[in-house]
Amino acid sequence: MMKLRPFAAACCLCGAIAAAPSARQESPAPPADRSAAPPEDAAPGALSPRNANYEIDARLDENAKVINGRETIRWRNITDQPTSELQFHLYWNAWRDADSTWLRERRMAGLYRQPLPDAWSSMDVTALRVRDHSGEMRDLTGHSRFIAPDDGNTRDRTVLSVQLGRTVGPGESLEIEVEWTSKIPRPFARTGWIGDYYFIAQWFPKLGVLEPQGWNTHQFHAATEFYSDFGVYDVRLTLPRRFVVGASGRQSARTDNADGTTTHRYQGEDIHDFAWTASPSFIDLSERFEHPALPAVDVRLLLLPEHRGQTERYFAIVKATLQRYGEWFGAYPYGYLTVVDPAFQSDSDGMEYPTLLTGRARWLAPRSTQTPESTTAHEVGHQWWYGIVATNEFEHAWMDEGINTYATARVIAETMNPNRVEMRYFGTFIPWSFRDIPVTRIDNDRLAGYRLNSEADAPWTPTYRYWPATASIISYNKTALWLHTLEQRLGWPTVQRILSTYFDRWKFRHPKPSDFFDVVREVTGQGHVWFFDEVYRSSNTFDYGVQEFRSDRLDDKTFRTTVVIRRYGEAVFPVDVVTTFENGERVNETWTGQDRRIVYEYERPSRGATVHVDPDRVLLLDVAYTNNSRTLRPQTDEASLKWSLKWMAWLQELLLTYGFFV
């Protein structure tokens, strides 16, 4: 623990120096980025720049749990700067030993469990060649070294730098051949094997993204995901014949080999990653999504037998999400989508890859609860926010996770009825659905989690510098809540226009936060700088409340009602204050929320009844909404009595349960 402190402090310090925001200013315009321009020499019909194209030939050695692979990458420099270096992600080295940055951060977050001896993985590049100007392949295997651009951790081997010995100019292409061997982990971070189930992601040496400022190739961090360029993937996977295989892209060929293996060929265009899965137990099901105004999508579901009863639920939520995201943001362009029902303990649930995703199902899953719906909808949604609008998840995870969490909550609210709170007992195997407790959209915006860690990090901080234990709360929860707040303030049609414009503008590209804010300005005619200063550039907490509410009789005909509204949190947001009187009169005030408090006094013929700050719940980030209202006839006694009686019966039951022992 002591050893880790300097490391953590260094992270925070670097973050503070490198990314300090300019308070109350518009975000600077993004630097010139040729990837934002339409592809100049892309193939006809190309949707993306297709500047990182992979041909992969890989073979699974099931007994050794090893993948031997060979890839040819055709990469084009689409920046306006030359480079003499290549940088590769070797993600599986994050689980090579306990000193990787990924595992150090897991330890810091208190999420570390000593992996079992056979759990470790590795990724070793055995050969790396580049075609030079003469057309010959030049061996650069010895010209590579591991680098740690984020934290200087010399034990981390997740980023490999290769010196080319020449420059690759803007617009110039390069052909790279890589041979590698990967030891497959027992499940770590949504990838690995368990029994005869494999989910294989981040499994091949993958180029980082060259930006005008240089390579953007972050180490693998515990709380972040990925970033890579679009391209065409042509992948041949050779596995024992008994496996049913699913992968990014669409299967174009299947060849049975003499040695009892089968080679599956998958091709995907305009995607920026490739993952695959295999299990002999998969039930291969297909349905087609059709919509009068959207392109059809062939949905393939690879379902495990114990979840057969949830087939309909899977397809229904996939189609509902394809429909709503398509209508709200823009069409899903690929025409196919593979949904994987992940195996128990595979740790591969709830993950998105281009045209491939994993849901989340439990063996016992009451219809009134949102498993598998919630996770599946979220991962389908990632096809838009990550798959197509390909943000840098190392630095701006909120741009896909947050936007997608917000949109998923909308889908679930529209499609799931009933949707009830579930708790699990007996080692989490036995579910119980609470018929009296509906899950609301705010629950799916994840206010409960945000409330506990609202000040953990400011979203402008690059995500990989977030505190790993609470990173998701800022990326997912806070963003969903401020987007919902924006919806409450501007209306859904406006927010929908913002998101659809943003989607259309930035599909198949890599937007930065400023690009999103620019679209907000463009659509609404306002920069909303004050709002983004609070929700994006600060870690301040919102909490408005009623400090005082009283109504005193002045004379026979008049009461003086005094209302004191207080801003308890540091964050500022304009709020409505509604006071009602016993005669039914209602006074609506709008307060800028800037000062610490505001006092309203009313002299009326009737006594005050209630006062409510933000009665329409516009500000969903308010961490303590109970203090937002007061009444002069509170039902606190009844409420507390009712629930304490219920709790008392629970306690008596508990006492009797332990009474067994005496």
Partner: protein, 343 residues
């Protein structure tokens, strides 16, 4: 005496001593009440005079609930949806079988409750064994007489249970279960293993429970002083009458399952305030009363089985009874107690 006869006889004795049932109900109520009042204070304090209290009173306000939970400590931290209806049963049994710890104030309440039962057990068994009213003086006298002996027995039982939870439970659920299921990718198979482990661990608990139960019965009925001796005697009794001892336990357990099944249908949901609230509370107290009667039935029927099976209970000549002679001594006097009923 057969299992069914013992079961019947148990209920007869339980119902013939309503004061005992009332007494343990009062104990359960009184122990829970101050904690419930404390929680009520916490809830009221958090709600304050807010308008939110209206929805909290009339139904449920889950947003408020989560806000309360976010700041709650101690008793307040136990205020989760699991307190509603039948979920409480699942939560509590699951908590025991999963070896979940309890927070300070709740753990203290459990300890007090167990101590309360330990004190009353002597009197209760004495009353059920004598099958006649012994009055409050006699009841508490017997409780006092057997307290130290039962306390010694409780130490033995506590040590055995502690060993089960401190060593056997982690070994089973944290080592063996994890090792056995670490390669499993089918949830229902893993659950089957867990179920097996629950049965195994539950079986151990029940086995210990049966022996300790009969040790208590023998300690009281036979006026035994040695806790170790009582345990050995109980073990002998169970070994010599396994079908009756286990059969009776199973029959009582089955009856308990019927009570739980009925509760799963009858357990009130969230409800509102006023009459509905009190009606829900009364229903929940009826369930608690049924659970208490079940606990007493275990004690009474096991006492009946032991007495009915006890060789000397039905034929030995009677000494003159002079309280506090043991129930066995009382039982063998001419024309009295079980001996009389069997003649």
């Amino acid at each position: 005496m057969t299992v069914v006869q013992s079961w019947h006889e148990g209920w007869k004795r339980v119902l013939a001593a309503p004061a005992i049932a009332a007494g343990v109900f009062v104990m359960t109520f009184v122990l829970a009440l101050p904690l419930a009042l404390t929680l009520r204070g916490q809830l009221a304090s958090h709600l304050g005079p807010s308008v939110a209290a209206e929805t909290v009173a009339s139904g449920i306000n889950y947003d408020w609930w989560q806000e309360f939970a976010a700041q709650a400590t101690g008793l307040g931290a136990t205020f989760s949806p699991s307190i509603i209806g039948f979920a409480a049963v699942l939560d509590n049994i699951s908590g025991v079988l999963d070896g979940r710890g309890r927070s300070g104030p709740v753990a203290a309440a459990i300890a007090l409750y167990v101590a309360g039962w330990a004190f009353l057990t002597g009197g209760i068994l004495d009353r059920y064994a004598r099958q006649r009213a012994i009055g409050a003086y006699g009841f508490f006298g017997a409780s006092g007489v057997y307290l130290l002996r039962l306390a010694r027995l409780a130490v033995i039982a506590g040590l055995v249970y502690w060993w089960l939870f401190a060593y056997v439970h982690p070994w089973l659920f944290e080592e063996q279960f994890v090792n056995l299921t670490r390669g499993m990718n089918v949830e229902r198979t893993a659950f089957a293993v867990r179920l097996l482990f629950y049965l195994l661990f539950g079986g151990l608990l029940v086995a210990i429970n049966i022996v300790i139960d009969y040790a208590k019965v023998r300690m009281v009925v036979e006026d035994r002083r040695s806790a170790v001796g009582a345990c050995a005697a109980a073990l002998r009794f169970v070994r010599r009458h396994p079908r009756q001892a286990i059969g009776l336990y199973a029959m009582n357990a089955l009856t308990l399952l019927v009570v739980l099944a009925a509760w799963s249908f009858a357990a009130p949901g969230v409800g509102g305030t006023g009459l509905a609230m009190w009606a829900a509370f009364v229903v929940s107290q009826l369930y608690i009363a049924a659970r208490l009667l079940m606990k007493l039935q275990f004690m009474a029927s096991q006492t009946a089985l032991f007495q009915g099976t006890l060789a000397h209970a039905s034929y030995a000549s009677a000494p003159v009874p002079a309280w506090p002679d043991s129930p066995a001594a009382e039982a063998i006097r001419p024309g009295a107690g079980l001996a009389a009923s069997q003649q």
